[in-house]
């Protein structure tokens, strides 16, 4: 190290010979004035460190970006429509027969009941103007305005069957093609009132009596 000192002797001497710089005369006074004027910095608490605006801004920006992204991505998903604003779907695959439906046999009792219920409920709840038309005849035959479905003479045939004790026949092909099950119906389901339920129950009893009488008559003829 002494070799180095000798090597740079001139530089070292020049530097050590430099004039010493002294502080200004009013150094202490200025210093004490500065100390008294500048308030001491408050020690930051842990809460301040975590929730300082400087640290909150990036996290808030990140959350906002994430929310925007979620909305943008969700726009491509399936939209949920208001079920009340959806128009009823047309079932073009069903109800093709124009011929009046004739009911027959015991096996079709349910179908008859369904039709009867339907006719009574339709009478009660459907408006008389469009899309349905009401005929002037004693029987009620309901037509849908596009004429794809014609259910005619239901009550007439049913009463005739009741009176004449005649057998009702529905061609099985027609029945297959034109039958409407409850599950396939796309209409508004109406809950029956207590009085209408009583009526339905009475009708069921009558129908059962009718079929018992009919069976007895058949046995006698045999």
């Amino acid at each position: 190290m002494e070799n180095d000192d000798l090597k740079y002797k001139e530089v070292i001497n020049s530097l050590s010979d430099l004039r010493k710089i002294e502080a200004p005369n009013n150094f202490e006074a200025d210093l004490m004035r500065k100390i008294n004027n500048t308030p001491a910095k408050r020690q930051k608490s842990l809460f301040d460190l975590i929730f300082s605006p400087v640290k909150l801004i990036p996290s808030a920006a990140l959350i906002a970006t994430a929310v925007i992204l979620i909305f943008v991505v969700n726009n491509h998903s399936t939209e949920i429509e208001d079920p009340f604003s959806i128009e009823p779907r047309m079932r073009e695959d069903l109800l093709l027969s124009k011929a009046p439906v004739t009911l027959s046999s015991e096996s079709n009792v349910d179908l008859k009941k369904d039709l009867e219920d339907k006719s009574t409920t339709d009478k009660k709840f459907l408006p008389e103007s469009k899309p349905f038309e009401k005929t002037n005849t004693s029987s009620t035959s309901i037509k849908i305005d596009d004429s794809k479905l014609v259910i005619g003479k239901i009550e007439e045939e049913y009463s005739a069957a009741k009176n004449e004790s005649a057998t009702l026949t529905i061609p099985t092909e027609d029945l297959k093609s034109s039958s409407i099950s409850k599950s396939n119906l796309n209409f508004k389901q109406i809950k029956l009132t207590d009085s209408s339920r009583m009526e339905v129950a009475k009708l069921k009893e009558n129908a059962n009596k009718y079929f018992k009488i009919e069976k007895k008559a058949e046995r006698k003829t045999d």
């Binding site: 190290m1 180095d4 740079y8 001139e10 530089v11 070292i12 020049s14 530097l15 050590s16 010979d17 430099l18 004039r19 010493k20 710089i21 002294e22 502080a23 200004p24 150094f27 202490e28 200025d30 210093l31 500065k34 100390i35 500048t38 001491a40 910095k41």
Partner: protein, 195 residues
């Protein structure tokens, strides 16, 4: 037991007194002891008297405010030189940025000017006042990392160990940095030494 007068106490005893009793007199003695050495150190580093006085005052304010962060393990001189050195470096970088910006504003964009420097010509360096000015300018031309250790060693006359502690580097690194700084200075001051 008779207590020593404050003026006779060591730096470490004074700062401890200031820490425990908040004795302003002890702080004032420390200021009186260190204001000139720190002014010399910071001036040689920055080359500007006004900003040098501001840096030293800022150093003293930091000592006053953060007196409790000093621990008796280290020497007081090491602690105060570290604070002053950090503040001086910050000020130097700020000045350099400002100078760079003002020079760039003179001409076209991205165009720098080479300012002619005649100060090292032997015919110009005649008397001692000019000589010290030339040495100061040469000091400012060497790398800041070398300049700092050269000033601490050759102007402030601190030991290698103290410099190593202030700069938080090994003694070997201090020595090599000092030698590189001296070599650069010698190269810059070649004209003066030929005379």
């Amino acid at each position: 037991m008779i207590e020593k007068p404050l003026n006779d106490k060591t730096d470490e005893e004074l700062i401890q007194e200031f820490q425990s009793d908040n004795n302003i007199k002890a702080f004032e003695i420390l200021v009186a002891r260190y204001k000139n050495p720190l002014m010399n150190y910071v001036f040689r580093f920055l080359g500007n008297y006004e900003s040098c006085a501001d840096v030293v005052q800022e150093t003293m304010i930091k000592v006053y405010r953060y007196k409790d962060s000093y621990s008796a393990v280290a020497k007081f001189s090491t602690w105060i030189y570290t604070i002053a050195g950090n503040l001086a470096r910050t000020e130097y970088q700020r000045q350099r940025r400002r100078n760079l910006f003002s020079i760039n504003n003179y001409g076209e964009e991205h165009e720098n000017f080479d300012i002619p420097d005649n100060s090292y010509r032997p015919d110009v360096a005649t008397d001692s006042g000019i000589k010290s000015k030339i040495i100061q300018e040469a000091l400012l031309k060497i790398s800041a990392a070398y300049r700092e250790v050269v000033i601490l060693r050759d102007i402030q006359e601190l030991s290698y160990e103290e410099i190593a502690e202030i700069k938080k580097i090994s003694v070997g690194t201090v020595k090599s940095k000092i030698n590189r700084g001296r070599a650069q200075l010698q190269k810059l001051l070649k004209g003066i030494y030929k005379e």
